[in-house]
C-alpha cells in the first residue's frame, strides 16, 4: 500500500466543511501559542481545545492514534535522557543516574505540547486535501511561485511513487537482496538517480504540454472559497479561545 496518503482529508464533519483559509490561520496561531507556552495550565487548556477540534472532525481515532505513536518517537527518545540530565531535586536514584523532578516535569510539558499541536494540526489542516490547501494558501497571499511549487510537487508525488515502485519491482525480479555492502549502496544510488532522471524527462514533457495549452504563469481554479456564517462563528470562538490561552500563560508566568 502506498505510504503517501491523506487518510483524514475526506469527510463531512464540521471541521471538514469549514473554510480552509480560516482553518489554516487558526491552526497556525494555535500552534504558535502552544509552542511558546511554558506552563502546564496553558498546555492542558490547549490539549482540551485540540481534543474539541478532533471531536468536531470525527476522524477514525485508531488512525489518529497510530499517527501520534509515530510522531512520539523523538519524544520517547527525550524521555530516556532529559529527566537524567535536567538539573533539579532528585526523586529517584539508581547507580550513577539521578532522575530529577524538574526534568520529569519539563519532559512531560514537552510531550504534552507536542501532542497538542499535532492533534490540532490533524483536526484542522489534515482535514483539507493538499490541493485545497495550496489554493487557500494562494488566497492568503503567499508567493505565487511557492504555491505553484507546492501544488506541482504534490501532483507528481504519486506519479513518481508509482515510478519508484516499478523500479523496485524490477530490482526484485532480478533477485536483488539488500544487505550492508557496497553493491546494495550502489544499486540504491542508481535507483534514486534513475528516479531523478525520469522525473526530469517528465518535467520537460509536462512543461511543453502546459505551453501547448497556453500556460503563462497562472493556474485558474474553479474552486470558490466562501466565508459562511459557520466560519464566522468558528473564527470568533477560536480567537476567544486563543486569547484565553494567552491570558493563562501570562497569569502563570515563570517556567514550570
Amino acid at each position: 500500500m502506498s505510504p503517501i496518503q491523506e487518510p483524514f482529508a475526506d469527510g463531512v464533519s464540521l471541521a471538514h466543511r469549514l473554510d480552509p483559509r480560516g482553518k489554516i490561520v487558526v491552526a497556525g496561531l494555535f500552534a504558535v501559542s502552544v509552542a511558546v507556552a511554558q506552563t502546564y495550565a496553558t498546555a492542558l487548556a490547549g490539549l482540551a481545545l485540540a481534543l474539541v477540534c478532533l471531536a468536531l472532525a470525527r476522524l477514525p481515532l485508531k488512525k489518529v492514534g497510530a499517527r501520534l505513536l509515530v510522531v512520539n518517537a523523538f519524544i520517547f527518545f527525550l524521555w530516556f535522557i532529559l529527566p537524567l540530565t535536567y538539573p533539579g531535586d532528585a526523586v529517584w536514584q539508581f547507580g550513577p543516574f539521578t532522575v530529577s523532578r524538574q526534568g520529569l516535569l519539563y519532559t512531560g510539558l514537552i510531550t504534552l505540547k507536542s501532542n497538542t499541536i499535532v492533534i490540532a494540526l490533524i483536526a484542522l489542516i489534515a482535514t483539507a486535501p493538499v490541493n485545497t490547501l495550496g489554493q487557500a494558501l494562494q488566497r492568503l497571499r503567499l508567493p505565487d511561485k511557492l504555491c505553484h511549487l507546492l501544488l506541482f510537487t504534490y501532483r507528481y508525488l504519486h506519479v513518481l511513487e508509482l515510478e519508484f515502485q516499478r523500479l523496485v519491482q524490477a530490482l526484485k525480479i532480478r533477485g536483488f537482496h539488500p544487505g550492508t555492502n557496497l553493491h546494495t549502496y550502489r544499486t540504491y544510488a542508481y535507483l534514486a538517480a534513475m528516479l531523478l532522471v525520469h522525473s526530469c524527462d517528465r518535467a520537460d514533457s509536462v512543461y511543453r504540454a502546459m505551453l501547448c495549452r497556453g500556460f503563462h504563469g497562472k493556474f485558474y481554479s474553479l474552486r470558490i472559497f466562501s466565508w459562511q456564517p459557520r466560519d464566522r462563528v468558528f473564527g470568533a470562538v477560536s480567537l476567544l479561545a486563543l486569547a484565553a490561552l494567552l491570558y493563562l500563560e501570562w497569569r502563570g508566568a515563570g517556567p514550570l
Partner: protein, 201 residues
C-alpha cells in the same frame, strides 16, 4: 532528522522561521516560472527517494540527499526543501508547522553551502570530482546534524546530551549519504550530464 513540535524555545523557533523566510525569498527570486515544473518534480522525486531505507547492519536509515539537492538546485533548494518538509508535516505529521522554519534551515542551509563549497571541485575531471561528490553528501549531513545540535543547545543547556547523541547518530548517515551521493553523481556524469549543468553556471 526532524525536530518535533513543542521542543524548541520561542527564540529558536522565531530565528529559524526568519532565516527560512529569507532563504526562501532568495530561492524564489532565482526561480523562473518556466523552471517550476522541473524543480517541483525533482522535489517530488527527492521526497520519494527519502522513502528508500538503506540497510546499515541491523537498522535501516532513510536517504536524505540534501547535499545532492543543493548540487542540482543551488539556492532554489531552499523553497524545494520547504515544500517537501511541509508535505511531510501534512501527510505523515513528521516535523510540524511551528518547527517548519527550523527544520528548513537544518536541511537547506547545508544544501546551499555544499553547492558553493564543492562546485569548483565537481567541475574538475576524474577523481577530484568523485571526492567532491562524496564530500558533498557527507558534509551536508554533518552540517544538518550540527544545526540540529545547535538548535537544541540554544533551547536549553539540559539538551546537551541529547544533542551529542543526535550528532553521533548522524555519523553513519554521513558515510552512507557520501557513498550514495558519489554513485548518483557518477551515474549522472555517464547517463545525463546535462542534469549537472547547475554547477557550471
Amino acid at each position: 532528522m526532524h525536530i518535533s513540535e513543542g521542543v524548541l524555545s520561542p527564540a529558536v523557533l522565531g530565528g529559524g522561521a526568519g532565516l527560512a523566510v529569507m532563504g526562501t525569498a532568495i530561492g524564489l527570486k532565482k526561480l523562473d516560472y518556466e523552471a517550476i515544473p522541473r524543480v517541483a518534480i525533482l522535489s517530488a522525486a527527492f521526497f520519494v527517494a527519502s522513502l528508500i531505507h538503506v540497510p546499515v547492519g541491523p537498522v535501516g536509515l532513510h536517504l536524505v540527499l540534501n547535499g545532492l539537492m543543493g548540487l542540482l538546485l543551488g539556492w532554489v533548494a531552499v523553497p524545494a526543501i520547504l515544500i517537501a518538509l511541509f508535505l511531510q508535516a501534512l501527510l505523515f505529521q513528521f516535523g510540524g508547522l511551528t518547527v517548519l522554519g527550523v527544520n528548513t534551515v537544518v536541511m537547506a542551509a547545508p544544501a546551499v553551502f555544499c553547492f558553493y563549497a564543492y562546485r569548483g571541485l565537481l567541475r574538475r575531471p576524474g577523481t577530484a570530482a568523485a571526492v567532491g561528490a562524496f564530500a558533498c553528501g557527507a558534509t551536508a549531513i554533518l552540517l544538518s546534524g550540527l544545526l540540529v545540535a545547535v538548535a537544541l543547545i540554544t533551547t536549553g543547556q539540559s539538551f546537551l546530551e541529547v544533542a551529542e547523541l543526535v550528532l553521533l547518530a548522524h555519523i553513519p548517515i554521513m558515510i552512507i549519504e557520501g557513498i550514495i551521493t558519489l554513485f548518483i553523481f557518477l551515474f549522472f556524469q555517464k547517463v545525463r550530464p546535462e542534469m549537472l549543468e547547475g554547477i557550471y553556471a
